[in-house]
Amino acid sequence: MTKKEFLVKIGELKTDIGILKNLELSVGKIIEETWEEKPGPTPFPSITDLREWDFKLLRRYRPFYMPFCDVCCLCTFGKCDLTGDKRGACGLNMAAQQSRIVLLACCIGAATHIAHARHLVEHLIEKFGRDHPIDVGGVNVEVEAPVTRLVCGIRPRKLGDLEDVLDYLEGQVTHLLSATHTGQEGSNLDFESKVLHAGMIDQVGMEIADIAQISAYNFPKADPNAPLVDIGLGVVDASKPVIMVIGHNVPPAVEIVDYLQENGLHDMVEVTGLCCTAIDITRYDPKAKIVGPISWQLRYIRSGIPDVIVVDEQCIRADSLIEAQKIKAPLIAASPKNCLGLPDRTNDPADEIVADLVSGKAPGALILDPEKVGEVAVKTAIQVAPKRRKFKAVPDVKDVIEGAKRCRRCSQCRRACPNDLDIPKAIEDAAKGRLERLAELYDECIGCARCESACPEDLPIHSFIVKAAEKKIKEETYKIRAGRGAIQDVEIREVGGPIVFGEIPGVIAFVGCANYPKGGREIAEMTMEFASRRYIVLTSGCAAMSAAMYKNEEGKTPYEIFHGAFDAGGIVNVGSCVSNPHIAGAAIKIASIFARKNLRANYEEIADYILNRIGAVGVAWGAMSQKAAAIASGFWRLGVPVVVGPHGAKYRRMLLGRKDREEDWYVYDARTGEKVYVGPAPEHLFYAAETKEEAMVMIAKLCMRPSDTTKGRAIKLTHYIDLSRRLLGVMPDDIHLFIRTKADIPITMRDEILKILEEKGWKERKIPDPTLLPRLIRRREE
C-alpha cells in the first residue's frame, strides 16, 4: 500500500463513522490537531522505506544460513534440490530460499499478533466504545504508545484510533507475504530487509493489543509494585471446581472472572491458566493462578485437576480435545482461529450447552462469544466437578512399573525426544521398581510427548515421568509479579543517563517460549545472576514464568527477592507476549525522553541511537514459535541484539558480526564526520548459544555500546571478564577490542590488562559521538 492509498483509506474509514468531512483529509491533519511534534521522514513506512537502514545492519551482521532442508517444495515446479550452488526451477538459490522461509515465519508471527490485536480491539470497542481512552499509566506515562508513534507517526488517544493502525499493519503483512510467492523477491538480502519490516510491524501489532487491554481492562498501569500472584502446579486448590484457560487472547478468561464475581462465586471456583492467557488473566484478577508455561499443558491436563478447559488462540496443543477427553473434562474453544472441529454453539442458549457438556453428550463446544464462554465455563465446571471427581490420566506407580516391563529397548523414544533424554535407561530402572531416573527427566522434559507417539508399545512415557516426579510437582509453588505493562516516563528519566553512559551495565530482557535445552531453571538462574549484578532484567511470557520457578534457602522466589522497578537490580515482568513492545518501548523512550530525540515517524534515527547507545539485549532462551521469530526481528531492526538457546539454531538463519574484520566496526563521529573504529559493539544481532554459560558471557559482552563512557565501559568490562572467568575459566581473548582508552580498564585488573594490551599491540583510540547515519553529522571535516 502506498502512503497515498493509506490516506484515502483512513478517509473512507472516518467517513463511515461520520467523522470525516471530505476525502482529502490527510493523516497529517488528523495528527496535527492533537500533537505538535514534527513528523519524521517515515510515517507508516512501506516495505521498502527503511531498506537503506536494513542494509546498513545487514552489511555488518551478515546472515549465516543453516538450511533445515536441502530442497524447496513451495510450488509444483518442485521439489527443487537447492544444495550448494544449485538453483530451483524458478531461479531461486539456497540463501534466498532460507531467507524466504524466515520471512514466512515472521509473517506468520506478525499476522498472528496483528489478528490477535484486531480481534481484541473489535471486542473491546464493542464493550467499551470507540471513544474509550488509551491510558497505560495515567500521568506517569505520557508516551503511551512509543512503538506506534515511532513507526506510524500518530498518537493514539482512543480505542477507535487503534483500528486505523491495524488497517496499516494488515496491509503490510499482505505485501510481505506476497513477496514470498514464486517468482517474486529473488535476493536474500531483500528478503532479510522484509524480515526486519515484518518484525517492526509485529511490534506495533503487539503494542496495539496490549495498550488496548491495559486501558479497557484496567490491568496494572506501569506499576512497579504490581501484585505477586501464585504460580506452579502445586498452587491449584483441587478441592474446588477448576477452570483451565490456555492461549493468548484474554477476553473469554476475563468474562469467566466477571461471571464468577457477578454471581458471588469468586471464592468457589479456581481460575487457572497456562501460557499468556494465564499471565494476562492475573493482570485482571490477581487471585487467578498461573500453572506454568506452554510445556505444562499435558502434565496439567493429565493430572485431572481441570474440570473445564477453555482454549483461545496460539500455542495450544492441537490434541487438546483428545487430551481433555482422557480426563472427561469438557473443552470450550473460544477463538475463530482454533475451532478444533467442534460444532458452533455460539447462538445456542447457555444452559443447553452446559447440559450437553455436563452429560457428556458433547465433548466440547465452539463458542465465539466471550461472555457466553464465561457463563458456560463456570456453570459447567460447577456441575461437572462432582461427577468427574478429578478423574486423571496419570498412571499409578504399579502401572508405571508394569508398563516399563514391556519396553523393548528400541530407543525410538529417545530418538524422538527433542532433548535426547535417556528415556530407555530410565524405563529400564522403572521396570525394576526404581523411579528416580524417570523423576530426573522431569526437569529437562518440555512435555511434548513425542516419545509417546514414537513408542511401539504405546507406553504413556510422559505420564510416567509426571508420576515419578509427583512429589516435585506438588512442591511447585512460587510467586510471580503480575505483568506491570509499560515503563513509566519518570523511571526512564532516572535511568536513561546511567544506561546510556553505561553505569547500569545493561538492560536484559528474557522473553519467549519454553523450548528449553535443559529445563526452565536456567532462566531463573540467568535472571538472578544479572539482577544481582545490578543489570535491569525484564521478563515476559513463558520466560517470565520460568524466571519465577526457583526458591532460595529462605523459600523466597526471584520476584520476591528482587524489586519490580525499571532500575538497577530489578526483575521486571512486563506481561504476556504482546507486552514485549514495552521493552522496545523503554529503549525508544530513553531516546525520546532522556535524549530528547524526535520520536514521531523517525524510525531510522531512533534505531541508530539504540544500536549505538543503549546496552539492551533480548534473550529468548526457549524460543519456539513463529511469533518469537517475528518478535526477535522487531528487536533487530531497532538495533537490539537477540540471543536464543541452541534450539533457536533451527530458525536456520543467524545475523553474525565478525569481530576479526576491523573494517566492519567503523561509525561516524557525529561531531566531526570522521570515521572511527568502535570495536565489535554489539558483536552480533542474532545468535544461538550452545550452553547457558556461553550465553551469559555473550550477553554481558553484547551490552557494550560505542557511546559508553569510560566509567560505564569499565563496569561493563568488569562483568564480562568476571563472568568469562567464572563460567569459561578464562580471561576473554578480545578485551583489547573493547578498551578505547586506559580509563576503560577496570581498576582492579589494571596491571593484568595493561600487559595483555601490550601483547596485542593495542593503541588508544577516540570515543566518538557514534552514528551510522551520515545525515546526522553536524559538521563535516574533509
Binding site: F64, Y65, M66, P67, F68, D70, V71, D81, L82, T83, G84, D85, M94, A95, Q412, R415, A416, P418, D420, A454, P517, P646, H647, A649, K650, R652, M654, L656, R658, D660, Y687, A688, A689, E690, T691, E693, E694, V697, M698, L727, L728, G729, V730, D733
Partner: protein, 180 residues
C-alpha cells in the same frame, strides 16, 4: 544406509558418507593441509572407558598437529587439564568463519580444508553442518560423534558406546603409527 539419530531430522539429497572404517578419518586428517578440531561442551560429559573424551581429543590434537577450537564453555575443561586450546568461541562464530573463503585462520595462515566436529548437541551440530555443507563448498567436514550426522561430509553411523570407543582407538593408533 545410515539413519539420522533424531528420527525426524531427515536429510538429503546430499548426505554424509558413512565412515565404515575408522582409518578413513586418520587418512583424511593426514591428507588435509589444514585440519581443525571443533569441540563442544558434551565432550566433557562423555566418559570413554574411564577417561574423558576431552583427554582423548587432546591426544588426537597433539598427534595430528591439529588446532582445537573449544566452543561454549568447553575451554574450561581443557584448561583444567593444563591444555590451552588454540581458540575458544561460540560454535556459530567458528562456523561463520569457516564459510568465509577469505578467512585467514586462527594463525593467519589461511582457511582450513578439513573441520572435525565433536560434542555439540546433536540438533545444533546438525544445522551448523548443514550451513557448511551448503555454503562452504571447499571445506570437508567430519563428525566424530557417536551418531550419524547427515550433513557432514563423513560421519559414523549410529554406534553403540563400545563400537564407537573402538573406532576412536583405531584412529588414534593409526595416527600414532603413521603420523598425523
Amino acid at each position: 544406509m545410515a539413519e539420522p539419530w533424531q528420527t525426524a531430522e531427515i536429510p538429503g539429497p546430499k548426505k554424509a558418507l558413512v565412515i565404515t572404517k575408522p582409518k578413513i578419518v586418520s587418512a583424511m586428517i593426514r591428507r588435509a593441509k589444514r585440519p581443525i578440531l571443533i569441540v563442544g561442551h558434551e565432550a566433557a560429559e562423555i566418559d570413554l572407558d574411564g577417561e574423558s573424551l576431552i583427554d582423548y581429543l587432546i591426544r588426537l590434537s597433539n598427534l595430528a598437529g591439529m588446532p582445537i577450537v573449544a566452543t561454549a564453555h568447553t575451554v574450561r575443561y581443557f584448561i583444567d587439564r593444563g591444555f590451552r586450546p588454540d581458540a575458544w568461541m561460540p560454535i556459530l562464530d567458528i562456523a561463520n568463519r569457516l564459510r568465509d573463503p577469505n578467512w585467514s585462520g586462527l594463525d593467519g595462515n589461511g582457511q582450513y580444508d578439513l573441520a572435525i566436529f565433536v560434542g555439540i548437541q546433536y540438533y545444533m551440530e546438525w544445522v551448523v553442518l548443514s550451513g557448511l555443507k551448503h555454503f562452504s563448498p571447499k571445506l570437508k567436514t567430519i563428525s566424530l560423534d557417536r551418531f550419524y550426522q547427515p550433513h557432514a561430509s563423513w560421519s559414523f553411523p549410529n554406534l553403540n558406546m563400545k563400537d564407537w570407543i573402538a573406532c576412536l582407538k583405531v584412529i588414534e593408533e593409526d595416527l600414532k603409527e603413521r603420523g598425523g
